[in-house]
């Protein structure tokens, strides 16, 4: 079974047409990989479907805009994967 990171990296490579070897756990989806908001919509939809979750993008965006969190906490891939794992763990059985 693929790890969360492998699944997310595969989604990004497929939906954003980015070569897989350019994607690392420390890549920032926006600053390093150049994923724009429209492409991130594709990524978010694919992640939501793959993991059966609803990533709280509005809440994350608000926290970043209010200066409570840096974009690194949500858009660096290893952090994004940790957030996904937490959402999966919090799903009702």
């Amino acid at each position: 079974m693929a790890s969360t990171y492998e699944t997310v990296a595969g989604i990004i490579a497929d939906t954003c047409d980015i070569e897989a070897d350019k994607i690392t756990p420390d890549s920032h989806a926006i600053n390093d990989l150049g994923i724009d908001s429209l492409d991130f919509l594709d990524v978010a939809f694919a992640i939501d479907k793959a993991f059966g979750i609803k990533m709280p993008l509005e809440q994350w965006t608000q926290e970043v805009n209010e200066g409570k969190k840096s974009t690194d906490e949500y858009f660096v891939l290893k952090n994004l994967c940790a957030n996904i794992d937490a959402l999966v763990a919090a799903k009702p059985a």
Binding site: L41, F45, K49, K54, M55, L57, E58, Q59
Partner: protein, 161 residues
């Protein structure tokens, strides 16, 4: 339909929120300046307006699900297929089903049919955001009443707004 005003949906004919589905009636006008250019001597509804009609049908579903508290803006059209020409005067039935209710976005599968035959279908994605101003929100609420969105799906005031 009033093509020049982008009023594509005449009325909502069914709204089934538990099954996340909507149907609409969209009567293509006999006359419109659009048909003078598209095309001279062979008037047909432009494909982009067929897509817009599907987007508005799905948009009403998203609006209904949110009580008209946020606005879905068209962001992406996937796998759009124009299967048949649509002539002036044809009656179209729109239908849309919500595929995914994301955070700040929504995805629907939509189609238009004429006489029971599917003429176009697509997967449509919206960015769902707060209304950018009161003018648009008021206009959308007025349009919601015009197309027959049930009143219990129209939230007149946004709490905290």
């Amino acid at each position: 339909m009033r093509l020049e005003y982008f009023q594509m949906v005449d009325r909502i004919t069914a709204l089934d929120l538990p099954n996340r589905r909507i149907t609409t009636a969209c009567q293509v006008p006999e006359q419109s300046p659009v048909f003078e250019g598209h095309f001279p001597g062979y008037p047909i509804l432009p494909g982009v307006l067929m897509i817009e009609t599907m987007a508005q049908t799905g948009g009403w579903l998203v609006l209904a699900m949110l009580g008209c508290t946020k606005m879905p803006f068209l962001m992406q059209v996937e796998k759009a297929k124009m299967r048949s020409f649509v002539a002036p005067g044809q009656a179209l039935e729109g239908e849309a089903t919500l595929l995914h209710d994301g955070s700040g976005y929504a995805v629907v599968k939509a189609a238009l049919s004429a006489g029971g035959k599917k003429v176009t279908d697509a997967e449509i994605r919206y960015g769902v955001v707060p209304f950018p101003n009161d003018t648009l929100r008021a206009a959308m609420l007025n349009t919601a009443r015009r197309v027959g969105l049930p009143a219990d799906h129209i939230q007149e005031h946004i709490h905290g707004a």
